[in-house]
């Protein structure tokens, strides 16, 4: 630009622009603006837990997703964009209550979650009934896959119940870790069997 002693306008503007503005802060403030404008379809944040980071997300209706430590937050957020709405923002404010309850739970001080839930990531009546029934299993207690299937309306559908539990979008809060094989074997867990075991131990169920 400036081969012949003329004023280099480009450098002047470029340098001046770099001295101004904090895009990171503005981007953080933006989540609040979006919430007020009613445009924040999905808020997410990553919270610490004794077992590793959890990616949690809520719609205006309630908690819609808990991503366990073995799930990459980026993947979790991408699935939310595809399956709920692309209007997804990191907005910890909407998740304050969820974070508080999870913290208390991990300290063993909360036995029942009171968070509103959004079930939209679970398709199908039977699958929802299985998860709703699972949500009512008390802290420290367990049911078998067969029992859950029966109480969801179909005692012979323990495989379908297992599959519903395996794709539980809101683990821990909807405690699918409290469902075991008849006889007490652990069965499966999306977050890894060792996490299932640790959660049951935390609750004194093992």
């Amino acid at each position: 630009m400036n081969g012949n002693g003329r004023l280099d306008v480009g450098t002047l503007i470029g340098d001046a622009v770099r001295r101004e503005g904090d895009a990171g802060r503005l981007a953080q403030e933006f989540a609040g603006r979006a919430e007020v404008a009613g445009l924040l379809d999905v808020a997410f944040t990553v919270v610490d837990s004794p077992f590793g980071p959890l990616t949690i997300a809520a719609t205006p209706k309630g908690l819609v997703k808990v991503g366990l430590p073995n799930q990459d937050p980026e993947d979790v957020v991408e699935v939310l964009a595809a399956r709920v709405s692309p209007r997804v923002l990191e907005a910890p404010g909407r998740l304050d209550e969820a974070r508080r309850e999870l913290d208390l739970y991990f300290e063993g001080k909360l036995r029942r979650f009171g968070l509103p839930l959004d079930w939209r990531l679970t398709a199908g009546d039977f699958r929802r009934r299985v998860l709703r029934r699972t949500a009512r299993i008390p802290f420290g207690e367990t049911l078998s896959y067969t029992e859950v299937a029966a109480e969801a309306g179909n005692p012979r559908a323990q495989r379908a119940a297992g599959s519903a539990l395996g794709s539980n979008p809101i683990p821990i809060v909807v405690p699918c870790h409290r469902v075991l094989r008849t006889g007490g074997a652990l069965g499966g867990y999306g977050g890894g069997l060792s996490l299932k075991e640790e959660l049951l131990r935390l609750e004194g169920a093992l």
């Binding site: 306008v9 002047l12 001295r19 503005g21 895009a23 503005l26 445009l39 991408e78 692309p86």
Partner: protein, 153 residues
């Protein structure tokens, strides 16, 4: 099922460019408000965005429109006071002269200069953002630079 990236990705990737453009186009004082308005408009329209499009270009086009709205509102406000809009007088800091000079450019020249030097956009993308041919964008940029040199010399 859409395959648009989460809006947070747009914010993470392009907030710097959008803010840089707006600082150059409307001055640092008003850039923050225009930034919020730009992203709110984008968020509102986002689910209807055609897949595979150029998201940065789309955001900068929205920012360009916000900057034009901003300058229009500003000259409307300034009218009752005097005939020539008093531009950027309240901008403070070491770069006051630059912002005042850029604000004084006609809209397309202003946007071309801001996109070129705050965001390093090539002529083709400047043209897309201001809705003109590449040749016209090149000319706007050239005219803008010439005026700024004179103004700031």
């Amino acid at each position: 099922m859409s395959s648009l990236p989460p809006f947070q990705d747009l914010l993470d990737r392009h907030a710097d460019d959008v803010l840089g453009f707006l600082v150059a186009a409307v001055g640092p004082q008003d850039a923050e408000d225009c930034f919020q308005e730009t992203f709110l408009s984008a968020l509102r329209a986002y689910p209807r965005f055609g897949e595979g499009g150029n998201l940065r270009g789309w955001l900068l086009t929205i920012a360009h429109r916000k900057a034009i709205d901003h300058h229009r509102a500003r000259s409307r406000r300034a009218k009752p006071v005097g005939d020539a809009p008093e531009v950027a007088v309240e901008d403070r800091g070491p770069s006051t002269g630059i912002w005042a000079a850029v604000a004084g450019l006609p809209p397309k020249q202003r946007t071309a200069v801001a996109l070129r030097f705050a965001c390093d956009l090539p002529h083709s993308e400047i043209a897309a953002a201001i809705g003109s041919s590449e040749q016209a964008a090149r000319r706007s940029l050239h005219e803008g630079i010439k005026k700024l040199r004179k103004e700031l010399a």
